[in-house]
């Protein structure tokens, strides 16, 4: 479980997150949704510790992350996997080297054990045979899958995904969504996904938090998002003319 307790964040006098309290559950795919510029990336980066919050507390299970020092945070970070919007793979390393890096740095595994673990993770994301390629030589969808493999290689307890579908075609997006969802269930991870892709919301949104202008505006699941009466949320969810027509037909 990850819990944010009244967190706020300001950049150069502009309030980006305003008194947000939310709990993300273990073993579920938790989604943060909102328009571009609504503060959802800042929320995700604050949760993971890449931004320091101005006020409020963040808890990883029972541990107050915001109260921890550099070394103690480092220990928790070994339990965190993160998938960045652009993949953030190391350009100078091959697919295999990217996935293997956390094992090299933080484990005492033998060469054989590392090889087996990397093979398992690459197989899990269906990337067998691409291990010798560099990030510049693979497609956007493959980059995301390598990022997932790297994120799970140390068996994380928490998985953060920043717009994992951005720049991908709808079919590949579904593959990535399902992969993240399956991994969450398989390893009982607390997964938080930052997205504005409504397909993802309807596919895997077990818990959804809607952020609007730095505030938590709505909270629920994919089953009740379509019936929500919140006007800003409805504007976001039914943004296209087709979606609006579909909603009126459904009514």
């Amino acid at each position: 479980m990850i819990r944010a307790d009244h967190i706020s964040k300001t950049f150069e006098g502009r309030t980006v997150l305003d008194d947000i309290s939310v709990e993300f559950e273990t073993g579920k795919t938790n989604l943060i949704i909102g328009r571009s510029g609504s503060g959802k990336t800042v929320l995700l980066k604050s949760l993971v510790g890449l931004h320091e919050v101005d006020s409020g507390k963040i808890f990883f299970d029972d541990v107050c992350y915001t109260d921890l020092g550099f070394r103690e945070r480092k220990e928790i970070r070994k339990d965190i996997g993160m998938i960045f919007q652009g993949g953030a793979l190391l350009d100078s390393s091959t697919v295999r080297e990217n996935v293997r890096l956390p094992l090299d740095l933080f484990t005492e595994m033998t060469e054989g054990e590392k090889r087996d673990r990397v093979d398992f993770c690459l197989e899990r994301v269906r990337l067998v045979g691409a291990d010798h390629l560099y990030p510049s030589e693979i497609s956007g969808g493959m980059v995301k899958r390598v990022a997932i493999a790297r994120a799970i290689v140390l068996n994380p307890r928490y998985l953060f995904c920043d717009e994992p579908n951005s720049g991908l075609d709808p079919q590949t997006s579904v593959v990535i969504d399902n992969l993240i969802h399956d991994i969450t269930k398989e390893f009982n991870i607390t997964t938080i996904i930052n997205t504005h892709d409504m397909n993802s919301v309807m596919e895997i949104g077990e818990k959804i938090v809607y952020i609007h202008e730095g505030h938590k505006w709505w909270e629920g699941s994919k089953d009740n998002i379509l019936q929500a009466e919140n006007p800003e949320l409805n504007d976001f969810v039914f943004a296209s003319a087709m979606a609006k027509r579909a909603k009126s037909v459904a009514k």
Binding site: K45, A88, L89, D91, L105, F106
Partner: protein, 247 residues
Amino acid sequence: MINLFENIGRYFMLLAKVFSRPEKMSIYRQRISFEIEALGFNSISLTAIISAFIGAVVALQMAITLESPFIPKFMIGYATREVMVLEFSSTVVALILAGKVGSNIASEIGTMRITEQIDALEIMGVNSASYLILPKIVATVIFFPILTLFSIAVGIVGGYVIASSTGMMLTGDYIEGLFYCFEPFSFTYALVKGAVFAFIITSISAYCGYYAKGNSLEVGRASTLAVVASSVTIMIFDLILTQIMRV
């Protein structure tokens, strides 16, 4: 002015992070070997070309300038050696490498910053500053003094080739000049300068890249700033070291 002090403060804070205990020495050793090849070996050809031509030009200029019956011919070899050892091979090569290696480091780390690769390392629990910058500093501090010695040798050979091929002086005179009033400490001086300048180039360029923000334009700016700041700092430290280590 406040901005300058802020940057100096951040630079030293970054250095403290860079020199904190590495995660795993074996990984760092591999990275140091990689950086020696990338930053050191790949600079050999540029250093060789520039040093050979500068050595030749210095010898030629000396031959023209010292055209007098009262000045012995071996002074050309002597002057070439002194120019190469005392200033050119350490300082001028460092300025050239600030352009090549410095901009390379700043743009590499800057690109890693804006594409969130550094954030990804931090999330993994890696000390990104130490992981990325320390191997580069160690590699250049080890290799640049070797490059300085190489530059001295190539420059002197360049002078010898021009002396022998133009017939402006006897090669025997040139060689005699090379050993005239030879002071071995001047090599120590050149090596120390090479190591100090290597540290300056690498750390300042890494700093400029590490704190790059925004987009590719900013990476370009960081790269330019790295070259300018390294070059100015090299000149300041050249003056300081010359005063401290007067030969």
